[in-house]
Symmetry: C2
Subunit: 345 residues, 2 copies
Amino acid sequence: MAALPPRKTGRLTLDDVAQEVGVSHQTVSRVINDHPRVLPATRARVSAAITRLGYRPNRAARFLANQRSTVIGLVTHHSDAYGAAHALLSIQQEVQRQGYTLMTFGLKTFGMPELRQATEELLENAAAGVIVDIPYEVRQRDVQAALGHVPFVALDVDGRGLFPSFRFDHLHGAREGTRHLVAMGHRQIAGIIGEKPWRAAAKRRQGWLSALEEAGLKPGPSVETAWTAAGGYEAATGLLRGHHRKFTAIFAANDLIALGAMSALQGAGVRVPDEVSVVGFDGMPEAEFFYPSLTTVVNDFDVLARESLRSLLQVIKGAESTGPLQKVSLPKLVLRASSRPMRKG
Amino acid sequence: MAALPPRKTGRLTLDDVAQEVGVSHQTVSRVINDHPRVLPATRARVSAAITRLGYRPNRAARFLANQRSTVIGLVTHHSDAYGAAHALLSIQQEVQRQGYTLMTFGLKTFGMPELRQATEELLENAAAGVIVDIPYEVRQRDVQAALGHVPFVALDVDGRGLFPSFRFDHLHGAREGTRHLVAMGHRQIAGIIGEKPWRAAAKRRQGWLSALEEAGLKPGPSVETAWTAAGGYEAATGLLRGHHRKFTAIFAANDLIALGAMSALQGAGVRVPDEVSVVGFDGMPEAEFFYPSLTTVVNDFDVLARESLRSLLQVIKGAESTGPLQKVSLPKLVLRASSRPMRKG
DNA sequence: GACCGCAGTGTTAACGCTAACACATCTTAC
DNA sequence: GTAAGATGTGTTAGCGTTAACACTGCGGTC
């Protein structure tokens, strides 16, 4: 009996399986890759051995050999915000459903150098392509320059025909939310908008303004603040102090801001929605159970995840025939108890 | 001039850099790996070339050659819950701070086969070790059997000296929360506990019961429900209907349940905290801005992330001298407006 | 009946990297 | 002045996989 050749690593290899069955390692490889030219009988024996031995291919080696991988990279921002966290979850779920594995890289700031570095890091680690969630205001050209050489799709950015992108129409959503307040008879509608570097801030602000404009209203007071409940609280407190309640409604740029704002109002003895109506944005599931239940504009993160991944996989496979894919998702207004018709008088 | 050998892939290799500088690829490798035996002058020239050319090593090849990697795997549950999402974020941050890359795998159910498969998947993709967040009730022995052969640390499980583990003392936290209600003079304290498969459910329930016992109180009514705001709403609604408010306080197994419960109470005209006090669990940042501001038991996910990763890296490096590491984090009670002393009479 | 073609299999050479060893050259010790 | 060791560098052989080509039979064609 010849002794088994020593193995450095504990793992089984193609050769182990091949030896067990009495074929070459290449035949085993063929079985694994569903190559057509294998005798059914041989295929069966090999498959059986693979199962029996519990063999699993080494993807690093595989990647090295054929430059193909089943890892998808995701660049996001480090953030507790519902949107970011939920998008990550949705994408992860979808990635796995498609038989891929997700590798993530979280960024604190979104300069092009950071973005590029994060992408490189993921590619080095054998990612086949990356999804980049870029929440800041950026120039399409810069993104294209930084990532043009790798398969990627951008989230929450308008690719303008330069690269595939999937985004929410923040402007539309904000306009719908504000229109609703206008329709309820409100004339002084304050805006609490999230902080600047985030693109959604500008877009949602624009939406708020445009709804007021089309109704011929002067913009109510507005504040810029952190995208958190604490930010909303602070902003609303400032609004109450500075303007002595010269507003009967608030458009908040996200649900957490709305939550904080309502907390501040209630703390100051202002009843919601009796005295001030509030509309949020994002549609986090909890919003329904805020007090009062929050009227909000809902984003569908699952669709975004599904579509963007699908598109990325197409790019990876090289099917660029149709030109950069674009998709815009329209947020939907959901009416609840935090907004009500303006009181007469 | 000899023509450059054709390259299949677009990427630069060690040889490209070596050729540029006029040394062997091994010398370049030494520079990259900070091997001491390289002449400072040579090192400088190589480093310069690396920067100039923009060379970045291929980690798949590296992993194949030395079986070491800088990818950390994380197995979590697919869940919107604050705990899971925030833990993921904390871990990702810490992983990157340590110069590693994070690869995640989300599970819907936590049987040992799934756990094992997820781990294998990550290892195949060159993870050096994995962090497994196992929120379900499991037997230590099973976990050890499924994962014993790979470097791993478990989150939110008691490893009992079998494997390294980091967890919160849910029982302690729940007891503290309930004790607080007792101290406020409440005698009928209902419990709304999350669903069963999750270990935290059992532990937090025990904590609630034990605080009641030590005070010589009969357990108030209790319900089991989903760990969401909707779950809390439903549970509280049921409690109100079935028991005609035979309780003056509620211990909720997490903040979202507390939120839903408060919503249900308020919807039924029951004032919080005037008629019923509520205590939550987890300490999500938003809880402060619920209405009323929620008294809750805070878990420190950042510490958990930091410590568990540190421990995993030790395991990977093979420093098992001190035996399996264990760490228990004690949740801390934070008093806010949702709980107040029992009204006289 | 010699020849082509193809199905099924094996053999060999990458992929890009690191480890181990081999080889010069330079010190230092006696 | 020579042996022994230290220092810097190059050479070679893998890691586990897939791609490309080479080989063996067998059935069919003229």
